[in-house]
């Protein structure tokens, strides 16, 4: 059982989402994240020019059985890619255990991926 975390461009989110749902992933969570990085964006407010280092991205978290990791990563690599600096990162880590709150059963079978 693994956790896949991906930081992607907001503009790529819709395509990534569609592709993930069409692959074998049937649940994932996402949230808006603000990151601080090297790139700067120029802004102007009331005559004051300033640059912001706040970068807005979307973070996806997918928890799935080992066999689904590779297809999910492939989907994200394909759909979140633009080729420009700032396309994001994917991290994969182990998940030790999981429970279903409704049935009380545990282990990776509670992840009801398709198949």
């Amino acid at each position: 059982m693994k956790r896949i975390e991906a930081i992607i461009r907001k503009t790529r989110f819709e395509d990534v989402k569609e592709a993930l749902l069409q692959s074998d992933i049937n649940w994932f969570e996402y949230h808006d994240v603000h990151g601080i990085g090297q790139s700067r964006q120029e802004r102007i407010y009331r005559g004051v020019q300033y640059s912001t280092d706040v970068i807005e991205r979307i973070a996806l978290t997918i928890i799935c059985r080992d066999m689904f990791v590779e297809p999910a990563v492939e989907v994200i690599l394909r759909e979140a890619h633009t080729g420009e600096v700032g396309d994001g990162r994917i991290f994969v880590s182990d998940v030790i255990d999981t429970w279903s709150i409704r049935t009380g059963e545990h282990g990776d079978t509670v992840l009801r991926d398709k198949k």
């Binding site: 102007i44 009331r46 005559g47 004051v48």
Partner: protein, 405 residues
């Protein structure tokens, strides 16, 4: 005077009063949008206070100070809620309402400049003071038939009397307070503190633009007869042209200066044109109105930069530049561009000189009053909230409510 004609005039005056009242939500939204969400309740409350206290005090004594009988042309006798002294064709109660909304407009200009760091209780003191003394006295000199009116000073709807006075008080208030925490870096560089909702600010400016169609054409105080119907239509046109020219000038200037057309400044530019045309909206030609609007829209950008970057006075909404600088500019430009008596139309120096003198003494009065008031409060009681209150927001600490839940 014909019964029907005076009824028509009354209806027009009251309709205009409604439009000027409608400028209050315009100011409230404009100021709320240009400041941060943690201080929204506070700035809305201040806008209500200006109108509530202004209405009561102007009814009670201000109306008498402004229009009451006098000896020296300096101040009228307080009326103590009695309106019977006023002699005019229009019903006195309607006229009081019309003058009240103007007084409240002068008062409400200041709240934006002092936003996000003023003790609410001390703002009440200021708000009472302007409606009680500052505005009625200089209003008496001009619209009340005092000494400036005798000299021939012309301020049709209040570039000087309403706007520049509000703007000067705003500037002095902002100086007395000092900048918001974090506004200027250790290197002295100005930092942007973006307002929380430009959509709200933009709606506020559209509302103000609409309100100005009462503010200026309404100041004719009559609609019946050929002279009046032509006059109010003329004022309507000059008012709109100046607003459009002001906003257009600011838009292109910011495009040129910063590489992109700036909404936050264009909103101010529209108001700058409106403030500028208010003094001479009846006296200049439509072309003159365009010139006034363009100049105000251009000067505005430099005024905001100068006050912010050079003087390090923190005015979050630009009230001192919009109402102060452009109010003064509009009053002086009336002396140049008035088709009857203006310097550029062969009227000679006299009228221009009177305009300069008028704006000087009116704003000197406002500055002296503002200085005594704000620095007096600062010394006696403290004008500014504690730094923790400022950091976490005035809404929670001063009012116990937050705008967005």
């Amino acid at each position: 005077m014909n019964e029907l004609a005076i009824s028509l005039d009354t209806v027009w005056m009251l309709l205009a009063a409604m439009l000027v009242f409608w400028m209050q939500p315009g100011f409230a939204l404009c100021e709320a949008g240009f400041t941060r969400s943690k201080n929204t309740v506070n700035i809305l409350m201040k806008n209500f206070v200006d109108f509530m206290l202004g209405s009561l005090l102007f009814f009670l004594v201000g109306f008498g100070f402004m229009f009451g009988s006098d000896g020296a042309g300096f101040i009228g006798a307080p009326n103590w809620g009695d309106l019977s002294f006023y002699k005019g064709d229009l019903p006195v109660e309607g006229f009081l309402i019309f003058e009240t909304v103007f007084c409240a407009t002068a008062a409400t200009i200041v709240s934006g400049a002092m936003a996000e760091r003023t003790k609410f209780s001390m703002y009440l003191v200021y708000s009472a003071f302007i409606s009680l003394i500052v505005y009625p006295v200089e209003g008496h000199w001009t619209w009340g038939g005092g000494w400036l009116a005798d000299l021939g000073f012309h301020d049709f709807a209040g570039s000087a009397i309403v706007h520049s006075v509000g703007g000067v008080l705003a500037l002095i208030g902002a100086i007395a307070l000092g900048p918001r925490r974090g506004k200027y870096g250790k290197d002295g560089k100005s930092r942007a503190i973006p307002g929380h909702n430009l959509a709200i600010a933009a709606l506020g400016v559209f509302i103000l633009w609409l309100g100005w169609f009462g503010f200026n054409p309404g100041s004719q105080l009559a609609a019946s007869g050929e002279v009046n119907r032509i006059a109010i239509s003329h004022v309507f046109l000059t008012t709109n042209l100046a607003a459009a020219a002001g906003g257009t000038a600011t838009m292109f200037l910011t495009w040129l200066k910063y590489g992109k057309p700036s909404l936050s400044l264009t909103l101010n530019g529209i108001l700058a044109g409106l403030v500028g045309i208010t003094a001479g909206c009846d006296a200049v030609s439509p072309w003159g109105a365009v010139v006034i609007g363009l100049l105000c829209g251009i000067v505005l950008v430099f005024a905001i930069e100068f006050i912010d970057h050079k003087l390090h006075i923190d005015d979050p909404v630009g009230a001192s530049s919009v109402h102060g600088v452009c109010g003064i500019l509009g009053t002086i430009l009336t002396g140049l561009l008035a088709t009857d008596g203006g310097l550029f139309y062969g009227g000679g120096w006299h009228f221009f000189g009177v305009q300069c003198l008028g704006i000087l003494v009116i704003d000197l009065w406002a500055a002296v009053c503002g200085f005594i008031l704000f620095f007096g409060i600062k010394k006696a009681h403290g004008l500014r909230v504690e730094s923790r209150v400022e950091d976490e927001g005035l809404d929670i600490y001063e009012h116990g409510e937050s705008c967005y839940n």
